[in-house]
Subunit: 415 residues, 2 copies
């Protein structure tokens, strides 16, 4: 989750919350779960756009994921449109679910006039329920018709709102990159809530878009690097949904851009969205970042960071603002990573608490204050060589305190 | 957690809650955390007794675990006494903690008159705090003196109570085995609460004892089999403590016994105690068993069972009595085990809910009732060959609903 802080000389800047050039979006209402709200979101991209995606590894991947996976493969990483819906995940819906997903993309491709394989699709909402095709299919031509009046590079917000389920706010982020000679490219993104944070609700969905010119293979690489630093470093409840997906599109309209800069902008947008996802989890009170340095390998660092950030005991202590450092140390010790226990140093909010196998006698008021902020920063050093090695073999994981509200929301809801 | 149900012809029977022959126990009060309650427990075993133990794999194993590990190795699996205390875990206590643990066993060995390495030790309670040696050491000779008047094979309860921390009830179980010719042997056990279910509290501790004659190597094997079927198949919060341990002792007084029968009795006692641990977890409302059959390997079956039983979303649904079968299927699908999604069959309380990749349309009232009992039995078949293979490649995991009370207790407690 670490992102380079923008400084005066950086060519990457925070930008207005708009789509890049070459992207037009419209929304529609099909009363999928509830009448009167936008629950369909359509993104149209100029001809020749490249596409990449990361899909859930859950064996019960939803029907639209199966269709999108196939289309992305058949098109060799190109796409003209993305259709998303909230209110129904179209997961665990058998052959009928699969044909409904196909019928949805066929309706879009027919209305737009592009190949079926150029349309990607995903759904989010209740599991095990079929889509109301009789209301979705007729709405699609209207949405496509409205694309003609949609602003190229228009606002992200209507699209971000239409894909919300239990999210309390739309999640959006944007950066511009100065490419030299006065030319700029833009990277923008939207996302909806992480994890399966409400009964029967599935899915984190994120859409990243740029007007830079990027071939499909490079876009795929940039997306994976960005996801590794963001979506793969957060947890609300540790459950992977049937519909998790991140899409990336490049319209190419703004021309080429240095790959390293573009990758950094993608990573910054993805990290922004990931933080918004964690901080909008059900029952959210406090966020929690665990940074591990000095591990034997980078994978070890991630394993320790994720184990501590996911520990129920650590997460409940964070909620209580309780300086239970013993739980942090014990969670690190059960991560399945080999290190010398006496080498571990624990800092919370920058205060050294534990070293050489015992508490160092830090000031109790300082420690209590470090556990009591809206964000708790835990740093664990595992003692590997100082300097570059320690930095290389480090990683970070973001989570949030576990609250009674989270349990209440997830237990009391009745299907 | 599956145990053979005792039937009329079984030679194994539930027995009175007493120690086997060759075991005497006393308790003492050293005001370790709170004055006026028994917080020391001493078990004395006749000469020549064999011993085995399983200790936490946490890298921050507590000081007494280090001492017990060494003693058990030096004595080659023999022991004369076990001293336990509640109120302080003597974990994360550095060199002073280690010398305190050693001083405790030395005091016991001196008072009893046995080798120091014949004494095992463990502690449970607050992490990062030193033991009050000035109150513990003087109490030990009194406890040893009282051993003379303690009944050989006396009641388990005082010992079981002295090791309680946040447990609401003492945990005890006993079996007798008819060995033929009117001869019987006994297997008894006590335990204290699982996981780190209250802030800064560490530890599941269990002590199993038999008067059968068993060499140290066989006892170790029997203990490991019993633990695999019980303590290693339960979870309250997924956190492994710094002090987790299971001890087994055999006094040998009642003579030899068929190893398979003895192993079964150990397993039954261990399973009893494990169930008691889960059902006495902080904020306990409902228990949850996940049985997986028809996996490609037994390890796969365990992985799926543990993933489902540990899922926060499944556990909150169980608390709410909510028939959220989608969460169960999604958790199975992210377990990291390869199986064909269409082969999965889900039954809850014996009712088939999901098969061939979609819900089968089970009666909603029946399904709701299955989710609403005090114990929810989830069965997942992964479709491997019927019969013996399906049974062999199966496993079971026991957990409990995650409740707001669990979070409240773990968040609100202040150190």
């Amino acid at each position: 989750m670490t992102t380079a802080t923008a400084h005066a000389s950086s060519p990457i800047h925070t930008a207005s919350l708009d789509w890049p050039l070459g992207f037009r979006a419209t929304v529609g209402a099909a009363a999928i779960k509830k009448a009167g709200r936008d629950d369909l979101a359509l993104l149209s991209i100029g001809a020749g756009a490249t596409a990449a995606a990361i899909f859930t590894r859950n064996l019960f991947a939803a029907a639209p994921i199966e269709v999108s996976r196939r289309h992305l493969k058949d098109s060799r990483g190109h796409a003209s449109a993305l259709i998303l819906n909230s209110g129904c995940a179209n997961a665990a819906t058998g052959p009928r679910g699969l044909s409904n997903a196909q019928e949805t993309v066929d309706a879009v491709s027919l209305a737009i006039g592009c190949a079926s394989e150029a349309v990607l699709v995903n759904s989010t909402g209740v599991i095990g329920v079929q889509l109301p095709m009789e209301r979705i299919v007729p709405e699609i031509p209207h949405m496509v018709a409205r694309l003609a009046n949609a602003v190229d590079g228009g606002p992200l917000e209507p699209f971000a709102r239409a894909i919300m389920t239990t999210d309390t706010k739309p999640k959006m982020s944007s950066r511009t990159i100065a490419c030299g000679g006065g030319r700029t490219v833009r990277v923008s993104g939207v996302a909806k809530g992480a994890g399966m944070i409400r009964p029967d609700m599935a899915t984190m969905i994120s859409v990243l878009a740029t007007d830079a010119e990027v071939d499909a293979k490079t876009l795929d690489r940039i997306l994976r690097h960005a996801a590794d630093a963001s979506y793969h470093r957060i947890s609300v409840d540790g459950d992977t949904s049937t519909n998790d997906s991140v899409f990336a599109f490049a319209s190419g309209i703004a021309g080429r851009c240095d790959e390293a800069l573009l990758a950094r902008a993608f990573r910054e947008v993805a990290c922004d969205l990931s933080r918004m996802i964690v901080c909008d989890g059900e029952g959210f009170e406090r966020s929690l970042a665990v940074r591990v340095t000095g591990a034997a390998t980078k994978a070890d660092a991630l394993k320790v960071a994720e184990t501590v950030a996911s520990s129920l005991l650590v997460r409940t202590a964070i909620t209580g603002g309780d300086p239970n450092w013993g739980r942090i140390v014990a969670a690190a010790g059960r991560a399945g990573v080999d290190f010398r226990a006496n080498d571990l140093e624990l800092r919370v909010g920058g205060i050294l608490i534990f070293a050489n196998g015992e508490p160092v006698g830090a000031d109790k008021h300082d420690v209590r204050a470090a556990f009591n902020g809206s964000h708790v920063a835990i740093e664990i050093s595992l003692g590997a060589t100082e300097g570059s090695v320690a930095e290389t073999n480090s990683d970070e994981f973001l989570s949030c305190g576990l609250t009674t509200e989270y349990v209440r929301l997830n237990a009391d809801y009745t299907t």
